[in-house]
């Protein structure tokens, strides 16, 4: 892999949520300046990185989405110019990976990269702890929608003090002064202001875009130029795609853990029916307990369908949230029970990709 990496500007994107979206935003930005190698399918272990680098040998830039556990191996091999670290929250706990252990592994990976610039989210205490003493850091206040894993300090276990976005602990761990920060969709860096007018929905994607702009700037692409290119992106590996299905139009949303759902609940259209599809395969995490960390009580959609291989787990959760719903494990059969018109479909990882394959290509895709 290191041979394939020589002579390129490589940006690695890691974190629990938003890796795929952020790497697509960043690839769009860098493409304005030259060809980009990119593991666009979300194949984010070492083999995916090798394949992406080999497939575009002449590309001057590479954007590699890398799983948190594989960051050390990939980064050591490719010596990236930039590592983007988005957020670290609970995901797939049944792999034996409490989030602090993931953060420690990320931290160890970064200490082996003295020349790399780390573009890190200052609003996530777990990220700040993981970054630790990395020599070159650019802090972005990208937001943290869900702090269920960081009521206590990642470093010492005491309660964190929070005051708005600012947080600190008696042990000294505290939110760093950000180099880039957001005011709505305006991204500030010193005196410079860039508008992030995205087609992708949701506050979290503004945060992802902010970190992508900071990373693009680090490899020489101007923020304004990056922002314009990112604003044209409408779907990311099927996420946010709109798919025609008979008399229904399905907007495809992926949410695979409580933090992702916290953002997705702000994107779901309360006037539309919603179909929720939940699997519990290895890539999803075998344990469905996380459904109880999602505040489904906030859903106000007129019709709710529960589907997927773990439709019953979801159905029980929805009943305790006081929500009427119908349950059908097969998602295509479940769609047949919903009315015509626009529908939001929210699925976790394997459920999302299974359904995409069964439904065929999105409207207007090449």
């Amino acid at each position: 892999m290191s041979g394939l990496a020589v002579g390129r500007q490589i940006v690695v994107v890691s974190g629990t949520n938003g890796k795929t979206t952020t790497s697509h935003l960043l690839a769009a930005a860098l493409r304005t300046s030259g060809p980009v190698a990119h593991n666009a399918t979300g194949s984010n272990m070492a083999d995916g990185a090798v394949a992406a680098l080999a497939a575009a040998r002449d590309a001057e830039y590479a954007v590699l989405e890398v799983d948190e556990w594989h960051l050390a191996a990939v980064a050591r091999a490719v010596q990236p110019a930039v590592v983007v670290l988005l957020n670290l929250t609970r995901d797939q706990l049944d792999r034996g990976t409490e989030v602090r252990a993931v953060a420690a592994a990320v931290g160890a990976a970064l200490t082996g990269l003295p020349r790399t610039l780390v573009v890190a989210n200052a609003d996530d205490p777990m990220v700040v702890w993981a970054v630790g003493d990395a020599p070159r850091v650019c802090w972005v206040a990208a937001g943290a929608g869900w702090l269920g894993d960081t009521a206590t300090c990642p470093r010492c276990g005491s309660m964190l003090h929070t005051d708005g976005p600012v947080w600190s602990c008696g042990c000294g761990l505290a939110r760093p002064e950000p180099d880039w920060w957001l005011d709505g969709d305006l991204l500030h860096a010193g005196q410079e202001v860039t508008r992030l007018a995205l087609r992708l929905p949701g506050r979290c994607n503004i945060g992802n875009a902010a970190q992508a702009v900071a990373a693009a700037a680090a490899v020489g692409v101007q923020p304004e130029q990056a922002a314009v290119a990112m604003g044209e992106l409408a779907t990311v590996a099927g996420r946010f795609a709109v798919i025609g299905h008979g008399r229904q139009e399905l907007r495809m949303l992926l949410a695979k853990n409580p933090a992702g759902w916290a953002e997705t609940l702000t994107v779901i259209d309360p006037a539309r029916p919603v179909l929720i599809v939940i699997n519990a395969r290895e890539a999803d995490g075998r344990d469905t307990s996380w459904l109880w960390d999602v505040p489904f009580e906030k859903l106000t959609c007129p019709v709710i369908g529960a589907s997927g291989e773990r439709a019953a787990d979801l159905g029980v959760r929805l009943s305790y949230a006081g929500l009427d719903h119908h349950t059908e494990p097969d998602p295509v059969a479940a769609l047949a029970l919903l009315p015509p018109g626009s529908i939001d479909v929210v699925a976790n990882y394997t459920a999302f990709h299974q359904l995409l394959r069964r439904l065929g290509p999105p409207v207007g895709s090449p």
Binding site: R90, D94, A151, G157, S289, W292, A312, V316, S319, T350
Partner: protein, 260 residues
């Protein structure tokens, strides 16, 4: 103030011991009481509050190692609450919650950390982490089989005055055996239920939730049919599930490689 008949459910430290989504146990208890016409109220007791000591039932959940030690200190500092856990209220304690109610917890470096001593159990680290589906036969009459997801590193030994909550059918549980050689799961005395089962355990096992409500109110709970509940139980308790079959279901074609 609430009426005398309201069940107050004290959800202890969900901000600290919330890693494994056990706060759902409070939602299940409150809803199942409410559906029977029994008013119930969840008091969410976070670390920055002064805890009320008069709840009928307290719930503790699972958390990471540093959070666990913080929780022991916090609970010991609040003496009225500590006393209520020790001598008054009903308690459901899951995973780290179970461990901190015991006498001692040994960490991976061999250090002993004192627990609250509410349950006659001790915990030491196991050789490998126990992660996966678990089914047990519950010792409480009428509760039947329990299903849950375990995810822990602890080996828990029960003292002479403490029964297990169940005997293990599939999975690991406490990692220790009873005097007849059967592997045990959880701990039980006259007021406290301790278990390693997540899911949350009361969502997967409504009979255990109703047992708690019966113990709190002193009256039997009438039957309650919840949509999807039977299907959920079949997912995890069918003979096929007991042999790991749920991991290999192929209702829908899948891609050969999935990365995440």
């Amino acid at each position: 103030m609430t009426g005398a008949s309201t069940i107050r459910i004290g959800l202890l430290l969900p901000d600290v011991l919330g890693t494994y989504s056990d706060a759902g146990n409070a939602v299940v208890l409150a809803a199942r009481a409410g559906w029977r016409g029994i008013p119930a109220e969840i008091l969410t007791i976070t670390a920055d509050t002064t805890p009320p000591a008069g709840c009928e039932v307290y719930l503790l959940g699972g958390g990471e190692d540093t959070a666990q030690l913080f929780a022991v200190d916090w609970l010991r500092r609040h003496r009225d609450l500590h006393h209520a856990l020790d001598a008054g209220a009903r308690v459901l304690a899951v995973c780290a919650g179970l461990q901190i109610l015991g006498h001692t917890m040994r960490d991976r470096n061999g250090r002993h950390h004192p627990g609250l001593g509410v349950l006659d159990v001790t915990t030491a680290p196991g050789r490998r982490r126990a992660v996966g589906e678990i089914t047990t036969t519950c010792v409480i009459p009428g509760v039947g089989q329990l299903t849950g997801f375990e995810n822990h590193h602890g080996i828990t030994t029960l003292g002479p005055g403490t029964a297990p909550l169940g005997t293990v059918i599939t999975g690991t549980g406490n990692g220790t055996r009873d005097h007849t050689g059967r592997p045990t799961e959880g701990a039980l005395n006259d007021r406290v239920i301790g278990t390693y089962l997540h899911g949350p355990v009361l969502a997967r096992n409504p009979a255990l939730a109703d047992h708690l409500l019966t113990a709190i109110t002193g009256t039997a709970m009438p039957p309650l049919e919840l949509p999807d509940q039977a299907a959920l139980r079949r997912t995890y308790l069918s003979p096929r599930a007991a042999h790991g079959g749920i991991h290999h279901r192929r209702r829908i074609p899948t891609s050969p490689t999935l990365h995440n």
